[in-house]
Amino acid sequence: MTQPLPMAGAAANVNLAGLVKNDYRGNPSTLCQGCGHNSISNQIISVMYEMNIVPENVIKFSGIGCSSKSPTYFLNRSFGFNSLHGRMPSIATGALFGDHTLKGIGVSGDGDTASIGMGQFKHVVRRNLNMVYIVENNGVYGLTKGQFSATAEKGLSLKKQGFNQYMPVDICMEALASNATFVARSFAGNPKQVKELLKAAMAHNGIAVLDIISPCVTFNNQDNAYHSYAWGKDHEEPLHDITYIAPRNEIILEEEMKEGEIREVSLHDGSIIILKNLDKDYNPTDRFEAIRVLAEAQANDWLATGLIYIQTDKPSLTDTYNLVNTPLNRLEEADLRPAPDMIDKINALMF
């Protein structure tokens, strides 16, 4: 291993993992200029750097689509798997069993998650895989040049496609319905909030669904569409301001919150996030309340952003398998092949 250790008097840009920000970068983006996805990639780079995460401790995953190209554009030192359309969850599920100490970060899109991948999305959520699941949601198929996705709002008109007559899929609602342990929504045009939610998601043990409205600058950016910058800026309805702070002693969440009160949610690794509650009744650990807020936002055409739901006491998928401490992919023949005397015992069982 040649990884440099932090040294006294090291340059200020070296983080606690001994790395500089460049160690977290990826290849130059080939997405369109001004694409919201690039802004999200940049926030991922900043978050990993600021959280002192060693890139080798993270695996990147994606499916197929514009969003799914983006793992190439961050964390070059991490292993990555750009899989099949809508099938990122299954690849990630198997891969994270290889070494259960690793954290997954998956990037998907609205087509990849809410259309072709809806089944795998909901099942990976219910299994609580230890992964940040980012949906870069623009309501449109970019790579195939502008067809409606399942998150496109009813009534939207697109060049060549005409009028969308179906109700949209709400990714956060679907995640909640599948018993997600972390559900958040943000807007690519609000990098500060994206970053804080990403930090919270990285610190969460289990699935963290982060639906980020990320406008398509080329195929769906009419000012009146959900997934446009102009609409997002006007309709954003933050649930609360949140600030991530470095790990310290765990602070337990109180049951009741008053208007304007600051709420802290402790995460599995001991770090906490602080929520500034803007709605006097909102409690992100209350699943009923989360569903109500989403329904209300939909009824009012709001873009409710922030940490919508969190449950920190549920074990992640690999936790439930009672695995040996050594990563499975480091086990050797002696660990894996039963002893020679077992063959006679087995044969004796075969009448």
Binding site: P55, R87, G94, A95, M350
Partner: protein
């Protein structure tokens, strides 16, 4: 009347879900324990309860245990199939039936034995009323025991095995067997010639089904990850993993070295397996045709991104949903080129329960050495029925994990490595796993075009170079896959090629062709695709090679024809698929039909004469050592 000893077939007709499997397995196991070669096959409908179902048992002193199309002893317990069952008894055979079925006996050319099943069960006060129907099946076991000489001690042993030594159910069932036997002794006069007598021809053998054998083999092969989705006839493979993993991989600290996940569908099952294979685990999934259709897109990804996994396809008859509970060898051409674009699959073809065990463990070695998906094609007959088998043998070679670079290897190479670089000239590159903490260890896997460093590229020359390397790797695969089994026949004039569970039927047909028709045929059982040199040698040896398989289109024949185009005219396809386990009669008649046609074509004698002149040497049965 001359006795016929240890050479007949029994078929039991019951209702699905009536609990007759315990009784049928008891007969099968008792015959096996008497030292008589035997097979048992469940011919069942796709139904949970109510439809007619049959269980066929063949005892044969010479060791021929393929299904026969005739049965000498028929036991009718189901009014719905009574007439059909009665009609199916061979002339001179025996017909046993539950006497509460009031239907006309229309035959005088067989022995007929009514059995008062309900009366016997009711007369035993120790049987609870809700157990009467279940235990009632033991009446026919007892009657049969008395009439054909099934050993009561062996029946006890079979029941004891079935009920895992629990005395109460053993006693309850055994008492009914005894009651049936005593009733038969007092009331029935033997009017047929069929008897069992103890032999020693099953000494040292075990009895198992192929799915259990595959699961246990996989465990001895070090399986670490399995994802699967329920489907007949493959479900019991994954269920056997769940059954045996906890004890075979038990550790003092109580922690697990494996994970088994029941996925939401076959797409996810193979996706998870590929994810795990990519991150360095010995990873597998098991399915049947319809599931494999769903897995196809992922199979192409694993081929192109070079990810080792083992996929068990326990074949049932298709297309479409087909007959879910009927056997087939119909997935061969599909799997051979599974995936869109140019793909070539490595296929293993176990031909016995013992080979299900052996390939269960070896498939991981082949997959990891070649860094590619390996498909193991079993079938319903082999997977779900009980077969006599040689005992499972502990592997005599260490696990072969293939070309893997860990942290220290990357350090030694000073980070100078490339995921898809053919360093050794065999088409197989080196790989690393997530969890390798060396900063130069990672790469980005993708199903899109990539260069040697796994970077995205659309460069035409790079595309061709990579595809050519994959083709070279497929050539290398010939060195890693199991060689065929050759059943030598001195002075043979024709060859037979088959694979999988038809072995018993083909071996019996080879015997019949020689003894009844004077045709000496040498049989080669192929055990893998791509073909090894032994297959090439065999097809070059004969002017007539009969390719025997259970499907409509002659799929192995097609693959052989493409592999050996210069020999195309010598291949005679003997292909038939009706969902039933193969019989020697079908193999023999299929060969004879083509043999006659071909003899005419060649002027009657030339093919045989020519073959004889080139194939004098005897060759021993050869098994692969790799």
């Amino acid at each position: 009347m001359d006795k016929v000893v240890n050479d007949f077939s029994i078929i039991v007709g019951t209702k699905n879900g009536s609990g007759s499997s315990t009784a049928n397995n008891t007969i099968l196991r008792a015959i096996f324990k008497m030292g008589i070669p035997v097979s048992g096959k469940n011919l069942f409908p796709s139904n949970i309860q109510g439809l007619p179902t049959w269980y066929t048992i063949r005892a044969n002193k010479d060791g021929f245990t393929a299904r026969r199309e005739e049965q000498e002893i028929v036991i009718a317990m189901n009014p719905d199939s009574f007439a059909r069952d009665l009609a199916s008894v061979a002339v001179g055979g025996a017909f046993y039936y539950s006497d509460d079925i009031r239907q006309p006996i229309t035959r005088a050319d067989i022995a007929v034995y009514p059995m008062p099943v309900k009366q016997i069960v009711r007369s035993d006060p120790s049987i609870p009323s809700d157990f009467r129907d279940l235990v009632g099946n033991m009446v026919y076991v007892g009657v049969l025991a008395q009439m054909i000489g099934l050993d009561l001690e062996k029946i006890y042993a079979a029941l004891s095995f079935h009920f895992k030594g629990k005395q109460k159910p053993i006693d309850m069932n055994l008492n009914t067997v005894k009651a049936g036997a005593e009733w038969a002794k007092a009331n029935l006069e033997k009017k047929d010639p069929f008897y069992l007598e103890s032999m020693n021809k099953t000494d040292g053998l075990i009895m198992a089904d192929g799915n259990t054998a595959a699961a246990i083999g996989s465990i001895f092969g070090g399986v670490q990850f399995t994802a699967w989705y329920p489907i007949t006839p493959a479900s019991s493979l994954a269920e056997a993993l769940n059954d045996y993993l906890p004890s075979l991989r038990k550790r003092e600290d109580g922690k697990n070295t494996y994970a088994v996940i029941q996925a939401e569908d076959e797409l996810a099952a193979i996706g998870m397996a590929i994810g795990a294979g990519w991150s360095g685990l010995r990873s597998m999934t098991s399915t049947s045709g319809p599931g494999l259709s769903l897995m196809t897109e992922f199979a192409g990804l694993a081929y192109y991104a070079e990810i080792p996994i083992v996929v068990w396809d326990v074949q049932r008859i298709g297309p479409s949903t087909g007959l879910p509970t009927r056997t087939s060898q119909g997935d061969l051409t599909f799997v051979n080129a599974i995936g869109h674009g140019d793909t070539q699959a490595v296929i293993l073809l176990p031909g016995s329960v013992n080979e299900c065990f052996e390939f269960g463990l070896r498939a991981f070695d082949v997959a990891e050495q070649l860094q590619t998906p390996v498909f193991v094609l079993s079938d319903l007959d082999m997977g779900m029925n009980q077969w006599m088998s040689k005992p499972f043998q502990y592997p005599d070679t260490a696990m072969q994990r293939g070309k893997v670079l860990w942290d220290k290897d990357i350090e030694e190479l000073k980070g100078n490595w490339a995921r898809y670089l053919d360093k050794d000239g065999d088409g197989i590159a080196y790989r690393t796993f997530p969890g390798n903490r060396h900063p130069m260890s990672s790469y980005f896997t993708r199903g899109t075009g990539h260069d040697e460093n796994a970077r995205y590229t659309e460069d035409s020359a790079m595309w061709v170079k990579n595809m050519d390397r994959l083709k070279k790797k497929y050539e290398t695969a010939r060195k890693y896959v199991p060689a065929p089994i050759l059943y030598t026949k001195p002075e043979a004039t024709v060859g037979i090629i088959g694979f999988g569970s038809t072995e018993a039927a083909i071996l019996e047909a080879v015997h019949q062709l020689e003894t009844e028709h004077g045709i000496k045929a040498e049989f080669l059982r192929v055990r893998a695709i791509p073909f090894t040199q032994e297959v090439t040698d065999f097809v070059n040896k004969y002017d007539q090679v009969f390719v025997v398989e259970q499907n409509r289109d002659g799929q192995l024949n097609q693959i052989l024809t493409v592999a050996y185009p210069e020999k195309a005219v010598s291949f005679k396809s003997v292909a038939f698929g009706d969902g039933m386990p193969a019989s020697a009669k079908w193999v023999r008649e299929g060969i004879l039909a083509k043999y006659a046609a071909s003899a005419k074509l060649n002027g009657g004698t030339s093919a045989a004469a020519k073959a004889r002149s080139t194939t004098g040497k005897s060759r021993s049965v050869k098994a692969a050592k790799k």
